[in-house]
Subunit: 327 residues, 4 copies
């Protein structure tokens, strides 16, 4: 094993709050261990386009609280080709980078996995996505912040819901994962939660809402993950309205604001710990690992294990209590 | 002029942050002046349905910070009929209410104006609507809070916008008024602002966005008032996308969360001052006035003047600077 | 084992955000299982003073987002006496309460432990304290919210710190525990963190700050847990100032605002899960358990184990990285 | 009158939220009018030390939402000397700066007033201070944001206050001005407000608090401006405690976090309008004016008028209602 002299760090895929705190931790931990750091802009695209910037302690000053990612992120189909990765490797080599830390999701991990096998470069993956759908960590960077953003929105909607007789539909992120929907539905006191992991017939939804209205004579909030089988919030609202016409139905599409915002304390601490751990693993000679949180401790698992396993983070007790608490 | 012994207070129309702070101020100012207060539930509907509750100092404890309205609000077509108002008057009379304070918008003011003329009951209107489109006050209750809610959303979107090459469309409230759109567009640093008061051709918008993209190579946010002539954000995004296809376009519909939330300091102080002033006016023998803020001072104008005048609150310097600051 | 017909729920000790969400979950889970619930006001004092209120589904409507505790809390020395507990038991018995759920900290757990042994009443403890210093749960209710409150304050201070050459001292809660200080110090990017678990000589602190100033020529934030051996923030600021006089030193004492605020999504979900689990344990015949979070799962441990074990939640990697990240 | 080719912009005195939004507006308005802009770092000190940076449209990208000031601020005694100002003028001249926009308070205005008379350089002052104590504008930059920061803190304290029997003392900024204290006291529902403009005997305070306690049996918050004659919150708490010993008294010193934070929508719009107006005035040949908000419109007054007049912004109705609303 050769000593690592320069680590390249990049963010890839959808951005998530906490990525900057994580970059900062990678940079400062490396510098503390007398290892240089290059920031790679625009993820894999930046490797191919030769966009590297020298990172020093000041480059990451005053960024721990910022949403987004100072290294930016982009999709890159070229990296999926052998030629693209060849170009990336040549650039990385020329830049003196001899190890990589990639912050992102499934696609990011797959990329560095393949790359590391092809070019024998040590790599570590850090789970960064608001969807919390990665195997190998109880929580992914940005999920906690996104949930807080959603419940602040729900709380505001509930204020006005409680003043009128209205039915509110709030669409949250989650194309394949109901993690945000389930957590914020419970935390927001929603009457119903629709998510991709669980089919909900519109008729059952209507029945449930009729029960809520009958029992409470007050207003009602439905949370819908964007990936739910019934289509988005507008579509569901339209269907429900046909059988529920005495109620005013209102729709909110939170959209990309869920990706932004200053990271929560939880996400900043997690980001700092994972960045610290990723660098220490590299320096200890490890490669192709994903670092993650397990309870209160940092763990790491093989990247391929993380890629090949589906994370199921909808705890059965949470699904059960989502039904009970809305009574 | 007869001494007023009991004031009825109600909220009507769309709810707005600060209504509770205003109710509190009406109640406590009246009690301080040895005048009783009845809370009327559900606005005009509550007068017709005889929904009155006794308000004491404790009824309004710990509500100054709450969004929504503890007195609730509802639409009421019956009050627009002579019979409806007759029923309302009989109930009010029976409840011992001999003056009214109505918190709401245009429709609320029209209601009490007519009612007061028919039944010779003193009334005062307090401008409460997030749209800030009423004549007689620099600011209406809830507008400041709504703007803060919107810019928090825009700030979050900008985080993620700055990390990707994306075009964001954010739809804000304002069916007839661009007040929220203009203020939050400026405060949020938007590249373009679409509002009902000003026609914007889609082609001009596209040209402007192309300029922004060319100049900045970064992401771009467009604010759209729901009442804009081009239709909602989804519609505009669809049109823009046809000529702008290398960009990812994303839409956020903020919806009713703009009505909720804990009122800002500004709205709470304004609410407290207007409630205080409304009661003092009634006790001084005034009627059919709308209280409002003029600079740093509380003023009042005849209700009919408020109803008949269109508020134009898009200061010319603001429209001009909205173009300049986005450069 | 006798069937439980009525559960008494109470909050005790310092209040913490999430207590209301937890009460709501206890009430609704019990009702769902056809078990009645009494709310006990003011903790142990309410048992002695016979302050019970009937809880139904509506009693806990619209409280999930509220800080504080609707059941209030108080200290109660009388419950530490045999006579006090006798009185409490007689009242509880008369009210038909045959099981207890106590939400609070160490003192709360000790109280129900003793009580349960003396009177053979089944009890479950739920860890609720912002200090996160209880054994048996990775996180206690309110800790996450308190950390978010602190970092919002630190972020604001950093804004002004970065505009001036100034040294800021921020005192946070934690009489015996540095958990808030360590987490928010890392999340807030503090230059130094002082906490009860670790003695810091003032001279070492000064040296560290001199290094920070020399390296950065910018401003500097020190986080101090109130229980640190060097005394509170004012005292430390005074000492530092003597050797650092070219710098303006400023002090913020956050105080009890750290206990308030709307609970974070994390705390609301945790509260809901723990309340649900506590009731299910009672109904399953368990007693004298503390429910808690272990990773992503709910666990439970004997109360006496929780009381007798010191929680050490300052993960070694976090202490190490708090030094590195401030470079 | 000579054409202005380059404007120098600087911030001075205590920083305030909105200063960055204002710098952005000055820069972009000037560029739009084909006028160059230099940023002067550290206020007057930067003029003397020759710290100028070229500002273009990108220099002020993505700063509208940031607290603090990217141009930094510092105190500068040297500028009060003839020699200091000579050095500043020579540097400014050499840098091609032929007009100045100074954002700050009283001291800032006095500085540019004298400077402009000595060296015949056109100057405009923009009121930026959280204290809102300047003549010539209904509101100063940062005041609105600071008030929101304070009431968020009070709201959190009220949560915990309502759960215990406690007396809370919250110290807010305002050495000579009770503007923050009065506004946030009203907006926060405080039981008593102590401020420099109005002497309050401790005995009267105690009497008032005893009344509050007797009437409500609940907790109580006192807001204290740091400049109150009775000394800071700790001192007052100590005095009150002697006659109020059955109550737990708690103190929060908000300190400099009141200066930070992302500016409110109100402050951002105000900042944008004032910056726009300042540049337009300079380009129209005006000098020695302070721009400000009057109602909904931008106005300007002579600097010396602003310096010589004391702003009295404690509206009589607000002082009166602060007494009534706490009942």
């Amino acid at each position: 094993m050769q000593k690592i002299k320069r680590i390249g760090v990049f963010t890839s895929g959808g951005d998530a709050p906490g990525m900057n705190a994580c970059i900062r931790s990678v940079v400062r931990t490396a510098l503390y261990n007398n290892t240089q750091v290059s920031g790679i802009l625009q993820g894999y695209q930046g490797m191919i386009d030769n966009q590297f910037i020298e990172m020093n302690s000041r480059s990451v000053s005053n960024i721990i609280q910022l949403g987004g990612t100072i290294l930016k992120t982009a999709r890159c189909s070229e990296f999926r080709t052998v030629e693209g990765r060849k170009k990336a490797y040549d650039n990385i080599k020329a830049a003196g980078i001899d190890a990589l830390v990639g912050i992102g999701g499934d696609g990011t991990f797959t990329g560095i996995e393949v790359f590391s096998r092809e070019y024998d470069i040590p790599v570590i993956g850090i789970p960064g996505t608001i969807d919390n759908d990665l195997y190998g960590s109880d929580f992914t960077l940005g999920f906690d912040t996104a949930c807080n953003t959603v419940i602040e929105a729900i709380d505001k909607i509930r204020d006005t819901a409680a003043s009128h007789d209205r039915l509110f539909f709030v669409e949250v992120m989650g194309r394949d994962s109901g993690c945000i929907a389930l957590n914020t539905g419970i935390a927001g006191g929603a009457e119903a939660i629709l998510m991709p992991e669980k089919e909900t017939a519109i008729d059952d939804l209507i029945e449930r809402l009729e029960g809520a209205v009958a029992g409470k004579k007050t207003s009602t909030i439905v949370i819908i993950a964007e990936g739910d089988q019934n289509g988005g919030a507008y579509n569901i609202a339209k269907h429900v309205k046909t059988k529920f016409d005495f109620y005013d139905t209102k729709v909110t599409i939170l959209g990309h604001l869920q990706r932004g915002g200053s990271p929560s304390s939880f996400d900043r601490v997690l980001a700092s710990r994972l960045g610290f751990s990723a660098v220490n693993l590299l320096l200890a000679g490890e490669t192709r690992r994903v670092v993650g949180l397990k309870g209160n401790e940092i763990q790491h698992v093989p990247i391929e294990e993380s890629i090949n396993n589906k994370a199921f983070k909808l705890a059965p007790d949470m699904i059960e209590l989502s039904h009970i608490l809305a009574i």
